[in-house]
């Protein structure tokens, strides 16, 4: 299957967000791929609020089954969450469990005015009532395949299919 160009999708996503952003809107990327996409959006949209990032490992619902993965990144929310509109940014939306975990984590920093979701690719297969407000691309993948965002040595983002 031919996969779309991830850098082009970032530009598409930025243009979809642009008309609906408020001056105080903050982006929060989910480690690791979501942070890369959020960095692209943050630069393209010229947002004033610094970029936030979270690692949802502490909030995952499969901790009892799979434990902590070893390469944890610290979460960094460099703005006041209280009453602020927040856009969660992720690379690939699948079951929705990561987004559930991300929302729980954000609420531990304060009560946001609202939370929206922007994703590069929506691959279907939801297990929770989660729906992105913006996505740059939709496709349907079988459960045996994973879609991954990768960053090359040159810094360019690309999508890759791997067997689950």
């Amino acid at each position: 299957m031919a996969l779309p160009d991830a850098e082009a999708l970032c530009r598409v996503l930025a243009e979809r967000l642009r008309p609906e952003l408020l001056p105080q809107t903050a982006l929060v990327g989910i480690h690791t791929g979501g942070v890369w996409v959020a960095e692209r959006l943050h630069a393209a949209l010229g947002l004033k609020t610094p970029l936030g990032s979270i690692d949802v490992a502490f909030y995952r619902d499969d901790f009892n089954r799979s434990g902590l993965h070893p390469q944890l990144k610290p979460s960094d929310i460099p703005f006041d969450v209280e009453d602020r509109p927040i856009v969660i940014v992720d690379d690939v939306l699948y079951t929705g469990r990561t987004i559930r975990a991300a929302m729980n984590e954000i609420f531990d920093y304060g009560r946001p005015a609202r939370i929206d979701l922007a994703v590069l690719v929506d691959r279907g297969g939801r297990e929770l009532p989660v729906c992105p407000r913006w996505s740059a691309h939709e496709l349907s993948l079988p459960a045996r395949q994973n879609l991954q965002l990768e960053r090359g040595a040159d810094g360019n983002l690309s999508l890759r299919l791997v067997d689950a």
Binding site: F58, L68, G110
Partner: protein, 319 residues
Amino acid sequence: MRNPQLNSHGELQHLLTIDGLPREILTAILDTAAPFTEVAEREVKKLPLLRGKSVFNLFFENSTRTRTTFEIAAKRLSADVINLNISTSSTAKGETLLDTVDNLCAMQADMFVVRHASSGAPFLMAQHLAAMGLEHIHVINAGDGRHAHPTQGLLDMYTIRHYKKDFTRLTVAIVGDLIHSRVARSQIQALATLGVPEIRVIGPKTLIPTDIDRMGVRVFHDMRAGLKDVDVVMMLRLQNERMQGALLPSPQEFFKYYGLTADKLACARPDAIVMHPGPMNRGVEIDSAVADGPNAVILPQVTFGIAVRMAVMSMLAGT
């Protein structure tokens, strides 16, 4: 024989001692602790990792600080924490350690944090749990006799790495009462495992085990010589309550020769950090001017200790 702390996949099942743990596991604990330090800055200082788990603090010896930091760590991970005040409970009525454990297991314990005056008590508990087929229950040693205090050793390593970054170029001195110190033993094992090239121990002959050089340390009885150009000074508490017989003429004399004062600290590197596991005896092993001075990192040690204990608890609970 397999290290009794590790499961068949080589993951940490219990934390009983630093002894025999590979560098990868020590590094993984320190790496895992780093993101936990940030939780203290949040409005809601809580993570859901141990939600629904019961952590029993079994302190057969008093230790307000260690018990409290374990309690905070477990509560920040959303566990239910039960503190057992052993001196007023069934042990005083004659119950054995393992009977106490069996009873708490019947109350669906998930984790024990144990401090005991007898070396090996936490190991005995872990062995007993395995024999009972209760491998899902974890044991953390919070100090046993003169044997080990692994979370103290780990939080000390976290503190050193925070300030000095690279273990492999450091000279570290441990000063004071080594013979009674489980903290020193865990520190030496951790420093050696993480690759510290020069570990020194400093103290009077009566307070240093005669065979300690087998642990790969250099022994100094003169404090100024021992502190020369060190990067890290780790003070130990003079264990008054363990001091039976005449090992020391007096605390005042100990202070004169081995108390850390500003002029002795001047022998170390100017950017040396000064650590102490607490509680401090000011004017015995450390002078107030040093304890409150710019080189001291004694209070950050306490803060880091919470993150390190959170890391250990969540790693154990995830296996």
